[in-house]
Symmetry: C2
Subunit: 343 residues, 2 copies
DNA sequence: CTCCTGAATGTGCACGGTCACATCCGAGCG
DNA sequence: CGCTCGGATGTGACCGTGCACATTCAGGAG
């Protein structure tokens, strides 16, 4: 094994603080101090070190730093259904807010709903020595798995119904659902269906609760909600089934995509929205305003949600004051998919 | 404000290989060999070590491993517009494929289009010692900035028009656009507009080229494409302007969202799709089948694209055979938003 | 002039793994 | 019975950085 390799000049490994130190004529510790903005470094020394750094194209080795400090300056995001509008919007705003706070974001996807998949994803994040965790895969079983796993990092979820309020950041889904339901009732509807999301999802459950609460509060009898899967395809399928019965004048859909499918099915059956059936969605995706008819829906402020997640997490981590500001209030956006029933 | 955290008992540091070694009665190196599946380890020893590992809940420290091997087993993804359907679908499938190959994925967002923002994002990824990079923010200026930056890691982009074929993985956007255009021409349309994406986007440019190529090939005179921003809002706005003129019978939109906005505007003007105007989109987002009318569009196989990105990247990294299979062929999905023109 | 003080800088070690090399031990063979 | 050989395991160094502590140095007080 020849090891007498003539070390080519700029070849070999990347420069480290000792290389910088040598060229700047200081100790490696001084370089480290410059890196970390230590107060007692002479300005001239600092400048010299910085010059050498740019000259050598020096980049601090994050692995080494993480090793010694056990601080990775990384927060993890545990997500599922990332291609959906809500989750991906939230991730985006989390990244933005995290960057502002000097943190990196690593995401891990839950591919399946089994616990193994969750553990795998968490392992991936743990392996990165994340300092905090945001869970935006608000399925009941995910939250449960996480409680069992006793992860060692502070985390924030979006469960709104849980008792652990200090872990939760949320849009007030119940209030949003009540807003939507009240709107329909005030228009004069009495026979209202609810197309819910998957039962396992905390948000879906909360919206369903809001729906039932408002119906009860207004003394309107209800039927059992239909459990969907968030997709437009399912909305269409459910709509076709429902149109065989036609014992309703309005449907509150748990998200906008299913609402779109519903409208499609209703029109296929020769009926009109909103004349025959009123439809309300949830989320206010950017396309909702251009559905036909434009969709009445409940707007969630996703960017604000992402910001609060990070703020809350930093608070829990002790890095920032944890100004808990209560749940975010959603907003009803009335468009043309709702009208008074035509008896 | 509260900080006096009482250090819980077992809170000490996480167990390391030496802890495991001590309890198993072996050396730390033996533990390391177990971790790395070294062949010459007696089965009984291996079992004993593994038992201790689970007992201590041992997790290898990735930072330490990365430090010594300078392998992070992480690939970076540089993305923009992550909340859009295409990018987020691709990211999701990249993560899946990367996980299968034993890699982690770190994403960085380009928040603005300026070069600074790109450099910041790249710095974030570089800091993670990524071994490869996937660029799914296919804006011209991003690719240019990256060429200038001379990053030290292998990378894969989605530029289809570039000469650097070994870096590129792509759906054949030109072919897809020609498919859509040909469909309209074969239906009998002659006055066809193209609503393009932002000029800076490589995909937008490729689709525009495909449109123009096909129009020329079929000897149909063309007008200048309209440059949009991918959003349904813009599609609506553009549609309203276009409806003042009405010198066309069909529009090929560069994505489905803008197509939705177009349909909305056309209907607002009292015209019908497809009777008065035929519309073709691009992407086949899951909602497209439920638009009114259901949208004729060009389907891109995003999951396959993500898989190929990772395969290609691993090939470039020398970790796997780089089976370059040529661009992915998109598929025309004919629905009810297109029909023969009614003269 | 000496001593003290605090700013500026240097020295050695620790972090948790992997690598190169050394060592141990039992089997096979002349 | 001694020697070789290779499988199984141990030993020490090292990766790049930050921390605790040591050291130097200049300036002001006594």
């Amino acid at each position: 094994m020849s090891e007498s390799v003539p070390e080519s000049v700029d070849r070999g490994r990347a420069p480290n603080i000792r290389d910088v130190a040598r060229l700047a004529g200081v100790s490696h510790q001084t370089v480290s101090r410059v890196l970390n903005n230590h107060p007692s470094i002479r300005e001239s020394t600092k400048q010299r070190v910085l010059e050498v750094m740019t000259e050598l194209q020096y980049r601090p080795n994050r692995a080494a730093r993480a090793l010694v400090t056990s601080h990775s300056r990384t927060i993890g995001v545990l997500a599922s259904q990332r291609s959906q509008y809500g989750p991906s919007s939230i991730i985006q705003s989390i990244e933005l807010a995290a960057q502002d706070a000097g943190y990196l974001v690593s995401t891990a996807n839950i591919t399946a709903t089994d616990e193994d998949s969750i553990v795998t994803a968490l392992d991936h994040l743990n392996a990165q020595a994340i300092e905090g965790l945001v869970i935006i895969a608000p399925q009941v079983r995910v939250v449960r798995a996480i409680s069992n796993l006793d992860l060692r990092v502070p985390f924030v979820t979006m469960s709104t119904t849980d008792g652990t309020e200090d872990h939760a950041v949320a849009v007030d889904q119940v209030a949003g659902a009540r807003l939507a339901t009240r709107h329909l009732i005030e228009l004069g509807h009495r026979d209202i269906y609810h197309l819910a999301g998957p039962q396992d999802w905390i948000e879906a459950e909360a919206r369903m609760h809001g729906f039932l609460q408002e119906m009860n509060a207004q003394d309107v009898p209800t039927t059992a909600p239909i459990l969907g899967d968030w997709s437009a395809d399912f909305g269409y399928y459910a709509g076709r089934e429902l149109m065989r019965v036609r014992d309703f004048t309005a449907i509150f859909s748990s998200n906008d995509q299913m609402a779109l499918g519903l409208i499609h099915a209703i029109r296929d059956a020769g009926q009109d929205v909103p004349h025959d059936v009123s439809i309300v969605g949830f989320d206010d995706i950017p396309e909702a305003a251009h559905f036909w008819p434009p969709l009445t829906t409940v707007r969630q402020d996703f960017p604000e949600l992402g910001r609060r997640c990070v703020a809350q997490l930093l608070g829990t981590m002790g890095k920032a004051p944890s100004g808990y500001a209560g749940p975010i209030q959603p907003e009803l956006i009335v468009r043309r998919s709702t009208a008074a029933p035509s008896f």
